[in-house]
Symmetry: C2
Subunit: 208 residues, 2 copies
DNA sequence: CCGTTGCGGAGCGCTGCGCTCCGTTATAGG
DNA sequence: CCTATAACGGAGCGCAGCGCTCCGCAACGG
């Protein structure tokens, strides 16, 4: 797998780069300077641009990786014995690595076919996860899978300044509140119609 | 009050400007170009810079106004007969005009004495409002006034792209979920310690 | 009729970005 | 041990887009 010497360093750098890119883009937004990513990864600009010919290419790779990670988390969540714990764990994980922050890169970058496919897989799994929780009576019945995705997105939204421990902790507290609000009974009905899937997908451009 | 001719136009422009600034800054962030505000207000750059000598001055004025508006809303909320409805209305209003989005301008601009005073007034009122709801048993007892402020801030956080009707509607749905989570009984306890007031204030710089 | 007042917006200077290029350094082969 | 090579870090180029200024012009007042 891993070779020696300079080539090993190259392989390591690639991982460092992707992780740094995730941290920087999800906490500072997509217009964060590429140099910030290189610095965070402890890597020169040269090494970065040898692997990704452009900033957009890096972003595409990153989005795809994030989507695949979401799919993984969804599969684990569906494997969980308790429907509610599965759903809650999924939401917490996604907010944890801020998958939602990469969602609305919409319009900024071109969407590859592979990204579309992975996105659809994720949507399908999320729908099953939500349906399972609702059928088990663990979830209020006026909330849709899309609502859950948008909740993740709202809680992934970056705050100004560095992402301190304090901020992460606050986010966990607030998320705990929101998750309690997702649980079932006696809740006040949600206002207006459920968000439409076409609007949600439309932000990414038109499907192929 | 309002004079005639050119002077009336000047007065009108001032209101247009402040409203446009609020919309642009809260939806696009503080590094939005000043020209965007002028365009949104339907006003030339000259008129803007005649009233506010610098972008920072405009931001300061805007923050102060937002804080005063929050104080107004808090007073109305405290006057509401039902403690829970008062609190919920306050949160909905603040998220409605996105007062929280101006909060973390921290460090970007200098904080005037008047801003500090208004901020303290708001904090005091918010604490009373939250205490009243908790004493009435309408609010889970592990949530603090600071948690509520941070919840408003999280939901005020701007999404990329223009602030469409669809987005506003989604935000209302998600907020309804979170508000249900704030209500009392049988909720899972919030993780970790409550956020500290000194950390919260510290983001604005050191008090005078 | 002209003086005055406030108007819009073109453009200046500059910051800070994406990206390139090159001198330097670590490794592999003879 | 020495040289050829591969990958490295980061200074700097060209440019986009910002804050802000300045000026020609339109609308009023006397």
């Amino acid at each position: 797998m891993s070779r020696r010497g300079r080539q090993a360093e190259a392989a390591r750098n690639d991982l460092l780069l992707l992780e740094a890119a995730r941290e920087v883009f999800t906490t500072q937004g997509f217009d964060a300077p590429v140099s910030a990513i290189a610095r965070r990864a402890g890597v020169g600009m040269g090494s970065l641009y040898r692997r990704y010919r452009t900033k957009e290419e890096l972003l595409q790779r990153l989005c795809l990786l994030a989507m695949e990670r979401v799919v993984e988390v969804l599969e684990e969540a569906l494997a969980a014995p308790d429907p509610w714990e599965g759903l809650a764990g999924y939401v917490r994980s996604c907010v944890g690595f801020r998958s939602g922050a990469l969602g609305p890169v919409a319009g900024t970058i071109a969407v590859t076919d592979e990204m579309w496919r992975t996105s659809r897989t994720a949507t399908g799994l999320a729908e099953r996860l939500v349906a399972r929780a609702r059928d088990a009576g663990a979830l209020r019945d006026d909330v849709t899978a899309l609502d859950v995705s948008l909740l993740i997105e709202q809680f992934s939204r970056p705050a100004p300044g560095p992402d301190s421990d304090e901020q992460r902790h606050v986010r966990q507290r607030l998320l705990a509140i929101a998750l309690d609000g997702l649980r079932a009974p006696g809740a006040t009905p949600l206002p207006g119609p459920a968000p439409s899937a076409t609007w949600y997908e439309g932000r990414w451009g038109t499907p192929p």
